[in-house]
Symmetry: C2
């Protein structure tokens, strides 16, 4: 996929991504630790097992994958270094995402709640499978054993397009997750205009704006790119 | 925003948009008429007032706006005709979207349900405001009184970028809406793996894939565009 030429570069948006990402992490932690009673993989308070899920899905999966997408725009150094950071961050994101999904199943199973009935769970599971396939195809095509130059050049725009699509699916899943969990809590009596409800809605808003800036950073040219002509050296 | 060059044109995807759009319309109607008891603006069965909301938001707002986005890719005729169809369909979509939102408020008010507490309602209301602003700016810039050529050329890529962003927000709102309504129904006893639950999840899936093809149709070049060079006439 070509860069999109709007007369602006990715740089200012990459800073907004880092900042909004940190804001999102703080909000998700405040929600799950302060309001929801903290995190634990093994606990008689089953809610603590669930709380691992949003924390790992946002900090581990979405935030790290976002930084992986931006690696080519923000890192100094050779293309090889950027590629290693890109694929490594995505691999860690994938692993933490799998652990985060496991936490949701563990919570369900230990609390007598059925699995995989909601659109959030369908989209989330589908998305992480697409993510894993995208990572494997990317690894074999661009890293090891790596395809011939001409093949790589023709695969790259599809890698970017599918990557951004899968990223948007992950963001959609997160947005559904915030709404689903809050709806459960409100059905059980949580005040609809209370601090926690407003915090969760604002977190969903921050994550959405964060994602907009990630996609903008990915499709806008970086500063080093010539603006439509080659400079005469 | 430039077209994205992947060696494929928008044409095959525009056909998928029309077909999936019709499938989505049928699914939304089956859900609200067969499973939910039909549509009415005035009724003692308040659920019928609510049912207007998903029907108008998908058929009126999202489907018509999607066809408006595709007008430049699928219609024959002059640029002027395409522009009139584009802005007219968007205006009808906006009007029907406003009526659809009014139905949700009417249902809430007549059923003693509070308004504007959920992330679905926040995002939806924010999106339709952005949609209205985008329409007005587009109308004054490109139609009447219309900006000078050079200004129009520099505004156009931003119009496309913001338009697609607002479109994605509308799709995200629809996805949240399907999940929110189904979660309410399941909290009130609807079987989580029953026909209706599966139908709503599949409708959300169809709408998501439909939206992917709308965005692809919008960013891929149409057949008439020269592939990187001007044909010598």
């Amino acid at each position: 996929m070509d860069s999109v030429h709007l007369g602006v570069t990715a740089k200012p948006f990459t800073w907004l991504v880092h900042m909004l990402g940190v804001v999102g992490i703080v909000l998700v932690l405040v929600w799950n630790i302060y309001f929801r009673g903290g995190l634990a993989f093994v606990s008689t308070n089953k809610a603590q097992i669930f709380n691992i899920h949003p924390v790992l899905m946002f900090i581990g999966y979405i935030f790290l994958a976002s930084e992986a997408i931006l690696a080519y725009k923000v890192l100094p150094g050779s293309k090889f270094v950027k590629k290693v950071v890109h694929l490594s961050l995505h691999l860690i994101a994938l692993a933490l995402g799998i652990v985060g999904i496991y936490a949701a199943f563990k919570f369900h199973n230990e609390s007598g709640i059925v699995n995989l009935y909601s659109w959030h769970s369908w989209l989330g599971l589908g998305t992480i499978c697409l993510f894993a396939i995208q990572w494997l195809v990317g690894f074999f095509s661009f890293f090891f054993p790596s395809a011939p130059d001409s093949v790589r050049a023709s695969i790259l725009p599809w890698h970017v397009l599918f990557g951004l699509l899968i990223y948007l699916f992950a963001i959609a899943t997160a947005e559904l997750g915030f709404l689903e969990k809050l709806t459960f809590l409100e059905s059980s009596g949580l005040y609809k205009y209370g601090s926690e409800a407003m915090l969760v809605n604002f977190t969903a808003l921050v994550v959405l704006i964060f994602a907009v800036f990630v996609v903008l950073s990915a499709i806008l040219p970086d500063e080093s790119e010539p603006e439509g002509y080659s400079a005469i050296a």
